[in-house]
């Protein structure tokens, strides 16, 4: 085969374009390797948001060796905005069930979140049902958008920033639990336990929305945040999930599952599979599996239900159709 000058130029341009996309992810930019030898994920069946979740969750947590006696547990739900009937936020019933479970295990528990779109956190809390529930159960809420801030060196450098101001409540947590809603996301593909960490970035310093993270790269920001504020446990709300134009304007999608994990990468890889996606095609999961946790099924001890892709994969915006796993019907 003979290369013409035109072939060469086209090939060079394609190579340069490919390199500009992939090189940022080829060079190691993490300062620590936090991967456990093996990770554990439990998929629990839960058809609805009811008091039964107390028992379901307590039983699920017993599948892990968790010792939080005397520890400060911070539950970080995904609380973005409120629209009646939508599946935008982690459901408060699940968050309260988690708070109760960790309290019974001897921990002190706070719920903490910094909504990314809505500046009036109290309005979101009251409209979403959190305010009343938290008050009734005497669970303290910390608005991470307005918490005291500490300049924190980043433990990975995908964003190109050296440090971020992060909330004291998160940095001083002994056991940070990410409690995402299982959703598709029009900029990131999915929003699960790792993307949920955007909520710890304070609006009072970075604005509403936290636009700097978009400009520095959403996938890159997720990795830097998860490296810097380690998620110790995941409780993902997939009872009523969201597909399509998430995180705000998608369509509710009943999945009937809660996913528990001691590793955020393993949790997100499993959730992605449950959505009918190939985790390796989601940049922050693939890159996170190099230093934050395990995405490969061979490194994950699966308990509870088995992972099964849905007959119909989750709908996504056109830019993310490539996430759908091979063999899953379109």
């Amino acid at each position: 085969m003979r290369l013409t000058r035109r072939d060469f130029l086209v090939g060079s341009a394609a190579l340069a374009a490919g390199a500009s996309v992939s090189v940022p992810f080829l060079l190691p930019k993490y300062h620590i390797d936090r991967r456990p030898k093996r990770s554990r994920v439990a998929i629990l069946q839960a058809a609805r948001y009811s008091q039964e979740l107390d028992h379901t969750l307590a039983a699920g947590l017993r599948l892990f060796s968790i010792d939080v006696r005397g520890k400060r547990v911070v539950l970080k739900p995904n609380l973005v905005d409120y629209a009646a009937g939508d599946a935008i936020n982690t459901h408060p019933v699940l968050v309260l069930a988690a708070a109760e479970s960790f309290r019974r295990m001897g921990a002190s528990v706070v719920v903490a979140e910094g909504p990314g779109h809505q500046r009036d956190t109290e309005l979101v809390l009251s409209q979403s049902g959190y305010q009343e529930s938290l008050r009734d159960e005497k669970v303290r809420f910390v608005d991470l958008n307005r918490d005291e801030l500490i300049r924190t060196p980043l433990r990975a450098s995908y964003m190109g920033m050296k440090s971020l101001w992060l909330p004291r409540t998160v940095l001083e947590a002994d056991f940070l639990v990410s409690m995402p809603k299982i959703k598709t996301h029009h900029w990131a593909g999915v929003t699960l336990s790792m993307k949920n960490m955007f909520g710890v970035v304070p609006g009072a310093r970075y604005g509403w929305p936290k636009n700097i993270l978009h400009w520095k790269g959403i996938q890159e920001s997720i990795l830097d945040l998860c490296a810097t504020a380690p998620v110790r446990f995941v409780i993902a709300d997939g009872i009523l999930a969201m597909e399509g134009n998430g995180p705000l304007n998608g369509t509710p999608r009943p999945l009937g599952k809660i996913v528990l994990a001691n590793d955020p990468v393993a949790a997100d890889a499993t959730c992605a599979r449950l959505m009918g996606f190939e985790p390796d095609r989601i940049l922050h999961i693939r890159e996170g599996s190099r230093f934050l946790g395990n995405a490969a099924p061979s490194l994950i001890d699966q308990v509870g239900e088995t992972v099964s892709a849905p007959a119909e994969p989750f709908q996504v915006v056109p830019e993310f159709r490539h996430l759908r796993a091979t063999g899953v019907s379109p």
Binding site: H117, D120, H186, A204, I212, N249
Partner: protein, 306 residues
């Protein structure tokens, strides 16, 4: 003394109690990290009752100004905040000795613009990145540099610049920037009226407005009352105001609806009646409630004619 005056006096007393030794206020009652936004709102609220606390607040604001004329989000921060610069310019209003500081702040504001004002990003948003519906020719102010324009920082900048007595002495571009900012607000409105942070339509789908963002934007558009966008947004705010229970949103709604001469008695009554107002943890909200309870003077301090 009427009930609302009693409530207002109590809230001002609480505000003064929360003032930190440095003269600033923290975002939360439980915090001791002085921040600019709560300090500016507190200073504006204390402007209704001038005294020693106000003087110390103004001293704090002067001491935290960055060398380039901007103000940071909180003492010790290392970045310029556009919205806090606008708020500080307003909070230092009426003080003759601080005119040079305010002018430096205004000059910095004039140098700050949403990233979409740059030709390259304008081109990108017109050609390859069109998922969010907006006209990049119409730009305002970002929360802080190197990001795009958003509704709240643009509104605060317009309010601050509108307080200038003239656009001279190197500030000839002020009317142009204000006009662009107004155009940007009108462009970013949600399809059925009202504003959220600044994304009215994403992926062809309307995004819901927020009451506080709507009220804040309306304050900057007071001179455009007859514009259909403004009218539909006032109607949206009137429609949802009675369902609001969070003091931050209720207070902003009172200020905006009062600015447009709409009835606010019921909303005002519900704000006064909110339980545990002095225990509101967030200091900006506490100060804003004070401003809403004395809305005529507050609107005057914000440069809005009612």
């Amino acid at each position: 003394m009427t009930t609302d005056r009693v409530v207002l006096s109590g809230l001002i007393a609480e505000l003064i109690l929360r003032q930190l030794p440095c003269g600033g206020w923290a975002a939360l009652a439980s915090s001791s990290q002085p921040a600019l936004e709560p300090t500016c709102f507190a200073a504006l609220a204390l402007g209704l009752f001038p005294g020693d606390a106000l003087g110390r607040a103004q001293e704090f604001l002067l001491h935290t100004q960055n060398p380039n004329g901007s103000w940071p989000a909180f003492a010790g921060d290392d970045t310029d905040g556009a919205w806090v610069t606008s708020l500080t310019v307003m909070a230092l209003h009426d003080m003759v000795p601080v005119i040079p500081s305010r002018l430096r702040g205004v000059h910095w504001l004039m140098s700050c613009a949403g990233k979409e004002s740059n030709w390259f990003w304008k081109w990108k948003f017109r050609t390859t990145d069109r998922h969010v519906r907006f006209d990049p020719n119409k730009f305002g102010w970002p929360w802080f540099p190197d990001t795009v324009s958003w509704v709240v920082p643009t509104t605060f900048a317009i309010l601050a610049l509108n307080q200038l007595p003239c656009s001279c002495g190197g500030l000839e571009q002020v009317p142009f920037r204000v006009e662009r900012g107004v155009e940007m607000l009108l462009d970013r409105v949600c399809p059925d009226g009202g504003w959220n942070a600044g994304n009215g339509v994403v992926y062809g789908v309307p995004v819901a407005p927020h009451p506080d963002d709507t009220a804040i934007a309306l304050l900057a558009l007071r001179e455009h009352e007859r514009h259909p966008v403004v009218q539909s947004s006032v109607q949206y705010l009137e429609r949802i105001a009675s369902s609001l229970t969070a003091p931050w949103s209720v207070a902003w709604a009172i200020l905006a609806l009062a600015a447009y001469g709409r009835p606010i008695d019921s909303l005002y009554g519900s704000l006064v009646a909110l339980p545990e107002l002095p225990n509101v943890n967030e200091t900006s909200t506490l100060a804003l409630v004070c401003l809403a309870l004395d809305y005529q003077r507050a609107l005057s301090a914000l440069g809005v004619t009612s």
